[in-house]
């Protein structure tokens, strides 16, 4: 599935885990002694909803189930593909339409029956594509053909091979395939067509079917308390090396991040996320090791280019001027205490598709320049020159310019950021009103829009005429980019994009996103060029002010061995082990 999740506060803490293993990284150990103890991960922010993951819409649920079920493939810190349930890498036909997927022949369900290609095809066809189940992410498997939305065509060739056939080319579609996890056909058929029975199916809610598909097996899920999985001795990747090396893996829930971090300090848990303020302190603790890793999540200021925003925002020069007045350095230093890198487009430096060349870097020196920003606004008619030569930004008629900044509540750093942004804009002479709204309210009243006077259902993008219920000028939000398939960001930046609530429209950008999903983009060089051009264009156009990519801090007990710090730090977690006590 596309990992294009807007990130909520909790996803800053919760790391979605996808189990993985690197071949040839076998640890030299006598396995009898190396399997020991319990790994406890501390999280705060909420429990998962269901282990019946196909029904889930929250990150925690996928994370929980992921301990017992491997996807087809995952990636390491360098974003190289790491095969999981795949026997070989997916083979794409030269025309880019047919994907041949060979799976391992030693995968087993809990009743010892083999996991076959048919299970995957069934999962796609009968579950994900079905009407009765309403799979939330079904559009991952849809394409536009002649103006109609149709599903791709999966087909089992033999017990260990299936194909998926598309009618249009999408070079990045393969990443959806890598994330695929099967449901056991022999159980699922019992509940077919009955969503209530499927929802309440004991096998799916207790993960009793997972066989040797994951490093751990489900043991217990005490709601609001902990999720416990125990070592799966039959794990297909671990058989040879005796992995995994933890007897149990526990996800323990905490009510507050303060108690969660206290638990790590006290040695009660093995791993948890550390807030920026605490990092230095935790780095100096004798028992804790803190890894600082980049993320693909970024903050942005969305400029309202719809009818109910300040009219100046429709002009890219004005947007550039505003972005020029807001210091990314300051946000990084003052609010995230340095745990951030300035963002200029939606593609982070850690992505293989990142190109520095040509990026217009607003918001850092030399393009962090309030004077110049004011000058630009003045030249566009938005400002008056005072006697001392300084410029006060105003509306065109000389009245004070009043902007409404909106941010969702609950995440303190982003609340702090909006105050910093206000400070920057106030220094230009702009009046700024901050509106703090609960997440749901923000979405319903500010983000969702519809054409006034119609009885349209509000959507995130109901076309260029649509406006939100409440008027706004700038919204601070967090977005995420899939490092491997940035083209998913089209929902934000194309005219028709499903999440383009700011009403941005640039035919050039639309064309580039289209090209990224065309046959020519099958050539990686070409795709690289497309993304470079896209980044450059967006960094110049400023549909939103890209602020910073955040860095996360992960605190581990020092005796956890085998960690490879990096953006995908958990990819080989089944090979981690505790250093033997001396």
């Amino acid at each position: 599935m596309k990992r294009l999740t807007i990130f909520l506060t909790l996803s800053l803490i919760l790391i979605v885990l996808t189990a993985g293993c690197a071949k040839g990284e076998i640890k030299e150990e006598d396995d009898g002694t190396s399997i020991r103890d319990t790994f406890i991960q501390g999280v705060s922010g909420g429990d998962a909803e269901t282990l019946n993951w196909i029904l889930a819409a929250d990150a925690s649920s996928f994370g929980y189930a992921g301990h017992t079920l491997d996807s087809l493939a995952t990636y390491d810190n360098q974003l190289n593909i790491q095969l999981r349930c795949l026997a070989k890498d997916v083979e794409v036909s030269p025309d880019g339409l047919v994907y041949t997927i060979p799976i391992r022949d030693d995968l087993k369900w809990s009743d010892d029956s083999p996991v076959t290609a048919e299970d995957y095809v069934y999962t796609l066809k009968n579950l994900m594509f079905s009407d009765w189940l309403n799979y939330t992410y079904k559009s991952n498997w849809q394409e536009e053909v002649d103006g109609k939305t149709v599903f791709v065509t999966p087909e089992a060739l033999n017990a260990t091979t299936f194909t998926i056939t598309r009618q249009t080319v999408d070079p990045e579609f393969v990443y959806n395939i890598y994330d695929l996890i099967p449901y056991p056909k022999y159980i699922a058929t019992k509940y077919e067509d009955d969503v209530e029975a499927f929802t309440q199916a004991p096998e799916f809610n207790n993960l009793t079917y997972t066989g040797n598909l994951g490093p751990y097996r489900f043991k217990e899920w005490a709601r609001n308390d902990r999720f416990v999985v125990e070592r799966n001795p039959e794990y297909y990747l671990g058989k040879d090396v005796g992995a995994p090396y933890f007897t149990q893996y526990i996800i323990k829930l905490f009510g507050t991040s303060a108690t969660r971090q206290a638990a790590l300090e006290a040695g009660d848990i093995t791993y948890t996320g550390i807030e920026p303020e605490q990092v230095n302190e935790f780095r100096n603790l004798p028992n804790v090791k803190v890894y600082t890793v980049p993320t693909s999540g970024y903050w942005l200021l969305a400029y309202n280019q719809r009818a109910n925003g300040w009219e100046g925002l429709k002009d890219k020069t004005i947007r550039q001027a505003l972005s020029m007045a807001i210091s990314k350095q300051m946000i990084s230093q003052a609010i995230l205490l340095g745990f951030a890198d300035p963002a200029f487009s939606f593609i982070p430096q850690t992505s293989p598709w990142y190109t520095d060349e040509g990026l217009v870097k607003y918001g850092i020196e030399p393009l962090y320049d309030k004077k110049k920003a004011a000058e630009i606004l003045y030249q566009k008619g938005y400002g008056v020159k005072k006697d001392d030569g300084t410029i006060k930004v105003t509306n065109k008629d000389g009245t004070p310019l009043h902007l409404v900044l909106v941010v969702s509540t609950g995440d303190k750093p982003s609340e702090d950021t909006i105050f910093l942004v206000r400070k920057e804009l106030v220094e230009l002479g702009i009046e700024v009103e901050i509106k703090l709204r609960p997440w749901e309210t923000l979405l319903r009243q500010y983000v969702m829009n519809k054409v006034p006077g119609t009885d349209q259902e509000p959507r995130y993008n109901n076309g260029p005429e649509a406006v939100s219920q409440e008027s706004w000028d700038i919204i601070l939000m967090g977005f995420g980019t899939d490092l491997l398939q940035p083209s998913g960001s089209e929902v934000f930046f194309t005219t028709e994009g499903g999440l383009n609530y700011m009403g941005y429209s640039n035919p050039e950008v639309d064309a580039l996103f289209k090209r990224a999903k065309s046959k020519e983009a099958l050539d990686k060089e070409v795709r690289q060029q497309i993304y470079a051009e896209m980044s450059r264009l967006l960094s110049e156009d400023q549909p939103v002010d890209f602020l910073v990519f955040r860095r996360n801090n992960l605190g581990f007990q020092k005796n956890v061995m085998g960690i490879e710090p990096g953006i995908r730090i958990f990819y080989n977690y089944h090979l981690w082990y505790f250093e033997p006590a001396e």
Partner: protein
Amino acid sequence: MTERLRDIVRRISRPPSNSTRLINYYWQRTRRNKLAIFGLTFIIFLVLLAVVGPFFTLDPTLVDFENKNLPPVGFTIEQSVYNTETDDFITTKVSGTWNHPLGTDSKGRDMLAMLISGARVSMLVGLIATGIAIILGTIIGVLSAYLGGWVDNVLMRLTDIMMTFPFFILLVLIVFIFGPSLVIIVLAIGLTGWTGTARLLRSEALSLRTREFITAAKAMGASDNRVIFRHLIPNVISLIIVIATLAIPGVILAEAALSFIGLGDPTVPSWGIILEAGQNSLRTAWWVAVEPGIMIFLTVLAFNFLGDGLRDAFDPKSNI
């Protein structure tokens, strides 16, 4: 607050008159309780602070990221910023300054100014919500007692239902459903907190109703309204004062508890909101959470002291 009220009804009964001499008499009685006087002094101080304080402090909304997380005067802490290039920290020692005697928060806002404007919010929440609850409770209780019959029946069954409703669940439910704005919070507390007062005033009014002076007033042809407002209410006023004084700290705590679980109004920094924002950085910037915590604690303490003193003063049995 109901358990308190039951205690009060057990203990309070008062002479049926409300002359200034009586006020004076009660004042004399209250004055003897040192804790009550401390409470009263603190509350007056707080009200003054809330009313005029903002004219003397910095703008509580003024952010200043250069001076964020400054400790209070007399304290020195280390602040460190991560350097992505070197994977190391640049650490600076920061000391409190008299510009920000109580330090600053993570946005560099002056804690003193925030606490004072927070006092305004918290006191307003306490007073208005209590006011709503008391007025509603008084009206319902007195009407119920005075009109009797089916009105009494309906109102008392409603009171029963409201009393049985798990209070905090109801509060959280309302605030969650209708959104955490200060108006909703105040209304929710006010509209759910009247039951005890209603019960109490009903029984008080019932016992008063049969007293001679009410009968006399009725005999002289006073209208129902007149009897209720000129005779009944003044006679239960001391009871109301005590209930209110003891209810306010409950409201302040309820608001703080709502803030603690993320249902405070983030746009209006009450003490609860400041505390909630600070509690996660307790280890690095303890004062942001400790200071509002102390303010809440002292205020609640002051109201409890005063309420207790008033209760004793109004209690003819107590020997003070």
